[in-house]
């Protein structure tokens, strides 16, 4: 209960309950002046609830919040902003169709004779952004800039409005390495100015790179607060998920594919999306696909699944030429595909978990042969249990589930069709550590069952863990293939970075 004077924000014994659950159970949280404090935990651990209590988006049931030593009680997010607590969310909550300057000064535009003084506003906007080493045309629409820039604009607005505490809720989820570096430069600068910064993320490397202290929540309770430098990765994961998992993730890679060669793609590609490539996949094999964003990873997946029809080359299964010109055609060949963008291409948000799980199977059977309700229930329950999908019941709309559980439900959708060739595009992106490990384990067990899998991931360590072979992409071409002992993070990075010569496996 100590509240030393260098704490800019202290939350003491915060409680918040929802019908049926205790989302926060007497959680203490102290943020120092000039520190980056990582707030970690699995999905559902209570991170968002705590943040929402701090920013007034939720009314807390109990506990007190001290800002600069004085007790505050923000009624809503505007109130919190006025008090000095600003928040920037993962999905930038600015208005993309307004200019950068308008976004920065929305609701507080400088006025002259009752009219918005656009010139002054633009000048002030340029000055404000100059502090962030950002030289933008502030009269252009916000949407014309990258997510990273939008993120910085959102931060600039929040800091300008609030100025004491900045909460960053998964700011790096959709940024590439370069953009993350830029963001971190800005975070460090704000830290030097004495702001207290709360940083929420799923990327543990980033936690170690930027944070001074770490607070871990689990199931609505405080697990502990530690200095980042005193806490190693394995202990951190143990704190987050309550069991030793790190070892499991890095165990399975011994296996090499012994299965027969089943899938043979020759000169397969589509103009403007992915250059023609050759690919062989055996039964019981996980082919990892590595490469930078935009190197053609997702395009490879889409062309294999027929989401974009290949315009060159041939596909063979067990020596017979097959047609993979559409998702339906691919599904007929027992293909399955978990797309990268879960929200727009994966889940059918308003429908129940049950309906989402049976969707692909029902689509393959055709509308005239409905799966009976009893059978749907059985399938849904089976996969909810097998994949440990956490949902109140199978009738809950899938959009209300956490990212990891949505991903598991999409996997269940394909597993229900008993696929033989499964393409997973970033299956672990944006999901918590626990679900992450479960999906990695699932990939391994599917491989052991003899499925052929293509897994795309930007987490190289993860690819190393489960791939029997890794294909490296660069500039929309398959440039290298690594197998056996050569599957190491180092080798993959080398292959991605190499400029010219094509490596053979």
């Amino acid at each position: 209960m100590q509240t030393s004077s260098d704490n800019i924000l202290s939350a003491v014994r915060i409680e918040k309950g929802f019908p049926g659950t205790k989302a926060l159970d007497k959680v203490d949280f102290h943020l120092r002046r000039g520190e980056v404090h990582a707030l970690l935990g699995e999905n559902g651990a209570g991170k968002s609830t705590l943040i929402k209590c701090l920013t007034g988006a939720y009314r807390r049931d109990g506990g007190s919040i001290l800002l600069d030593g004085a007790e505050v009680d923000p009624r809503d997010t505007f109130d919190a902003q006025r008090l000095g607590i600003g928040t920037v969310y993962q999905e930038v909550n600015l208005l993309p169709n307004l200019t950068v300057a308008e976004n920065l000064f929305l609701g507080r535009q400088p006025r002259r004779f009752g009219m918005v003084d656009t010139r002054t506003m633009n000048r002030k906007a340029r000055e404000l952004l100059a502090e962030y080493e950002l030289d933008l045309d502030v009269t252009r629409d916000l949407a014309s800039y990258s997510v990273a820039i939008q993120q910085v604009v959102a931060i600039a607005r929040a800091v300008d409005l609030s100025g004491k505490v900045l909460i960053l809720d998964e700011p790096t989820a959709s940024l590439d390495a370069h953009e993350v570096a830029m963001l971190f430069r800005i975070v460090r600068r704000l830290k030097a100015r004495g702001l207290g910064i709360i940083f929420i993320t799923h990327f543990l490397e980033q936690v170690y790179e930027i944070s001074d202290r770490i607070t871990v929540l689990r199931n609505g309770q405080l697990v502990g607060t530690r200095e980042t430098s005193d806490l190693n990765r394995r202990d951190l994961i143990a704190m987050m998920i309550g069991r030793e998992l790190a070892a499991e993730i890095h165990s399975a890679h011994a296996a090499t594919a012994e299965g027969s060669l089943r899938y043979r793609f020759r000169n397969y590609g589509r103009r403007g999306r992915i250059n023609p490539f050759d690919l062989d996949v055996r039964a019981g094999e996980v082919v990892g696909i590595a490469g930078l964003l935009g190197s053609g990873r997702t395009e490879t997946a889409e062309v294999l699944f027929g989401a974009h029809r290949a315009d060159s080359g041939t596909a063979e299964i067990d020596g017979h030429a097959v047609d993979l010109s559409s998702p339906r055609a691919a599904i007929r060949q027992k293909f399955g595909f978990c797309p990268e963008d879960r929200k727009t291409a994966g889940i059918v948000g308003d429908l129940s978990v049950r309906e989402n799980i049976v969707l692909a199977l029902q689509a393959r059977r055709g509308w005239t042969r409905p799966i009976s309700r009893a059978e749907q229930n059985r399938l849904a329950d089976q996969y909810i249990r097998a994949l440990d999908i956490r949902t109140a019941d199978r009738e809950k709309p899938i959009k209300l589930l956490s990212g990891g559980n949505q991903q598991k439900a999409i996997l269940a959708r394909w597993l229900a069709t008993e696929p033989e060739f499964l393409i997973l595009d970033e299956p672990t992106r944006g999901i918590d550590v626990g679900a992450h490990a479960e999906i990695v384990r699932l990939i391994e067990s599917l491989r052991e069952k003899g499925l052929s899998l293509i897994v795309i991931s930007s987490e190289i360590e993860e690819l190393v863990a489960y791939s029997t072979r890794v294909v490296v992409l660069r500039d929309r071409s398959h440039v290298a293939e690594l197998g056996g002992d050569r599957i190491t993070a180092h080798q993959i990075v080398e292959a991605i970075a190499a400029t010219n010569e094509r490596e053979a496996s």
Binding site: A345, I347, V348, G349, L351, A360, W367, T368, R413
Partner: protein
Amino acid sequence: MTSTVRTYLTRLLPQLIALTIILAAISIIFPGFLNLQIQNGRLYGSLIDILNRGAPVVLLAIGMTVVIATKGIDLSVGAVMAICGAVSASLITSGHSLAETLLVTLAVGILCGIWNGILVAVLDIQPIIATLVLMVAGRGIAQLITEGAILTFNDPGLIYIGSGSFAGLPMPVIIWLVFGVLVALVVRQTALGMLVEAVGVNREASTLSGVFTPVLLVAAYVLSGLCAAIAGVIAAADIKGADANNAGLWLELDAILAVVVGGTSLLGGRFSIAASVLGAIIIQSINTGILLSGFPPEFNLIIKAAIIVFILVLQSPRFRAAFQFVSIPRAAGKPTEREAK
């Protein structure tokens, strides 16, 4: 399956409450409103009249529900009614048999649906624009067929569809009852309903899951065209003639309103045909009620609008959250009965 029945009723509760209140209100202003009598083996009374007069909008609402569930909209149904009325009148007057006339008319309605469906599903034109084309052109086509005049006919078979009766009920009522039950059964006893909802909520995800989206979309517009064709025949048979200018005029808007009053979201997804039918009956009750209650006719549209706003407020999630007067249990039930939040 008593729980199924219960959830079904919960889904329809706001519409049933609204209808009850409206009917009660009318019967206070106009006693005798609820009276029914039998003459010549046929039921007469204002209630029967509502069911009968409401037939075109009920039929349009059935098709519109499925189209809206796919996140689409069909503005052309009023014009398609006019086309189909004109086609049936011109065929029957030129000496074709009733069966030929009806078959060709329904085929024309289906053709209109295919046209809309191809614009939406294959050419990927926004539904509101795609169907606007036929909404504008359709009435012109109908006028070409009738050559600008009201094309009258006196074939007793065709007239029977508009003003005959069967088993004590007017023919139009029988037609929409049978057709509505048929569509609801086909949609819910097969997987069509779920697939339509999936496409309406997320077309891309459904396509990637192997749902044959273009065919499904075309089918929805075909159903809507077919509904409009039947409604067009009823409207023409009712006045014993095809009026290209006025048949089905603005009825597309009433049909959309019926679907919305029925609680199906214009954003697509969850739908209930029964609720839309109730919505259409509610609208017709308001029309008939205002007429009977003797308000000056210039008030009609205003009163109608006010009542509809009231119904929409009644079923808005915020209102429900505030008053919690209908709690919707999320029990295991068919998708139809699930509450669209």
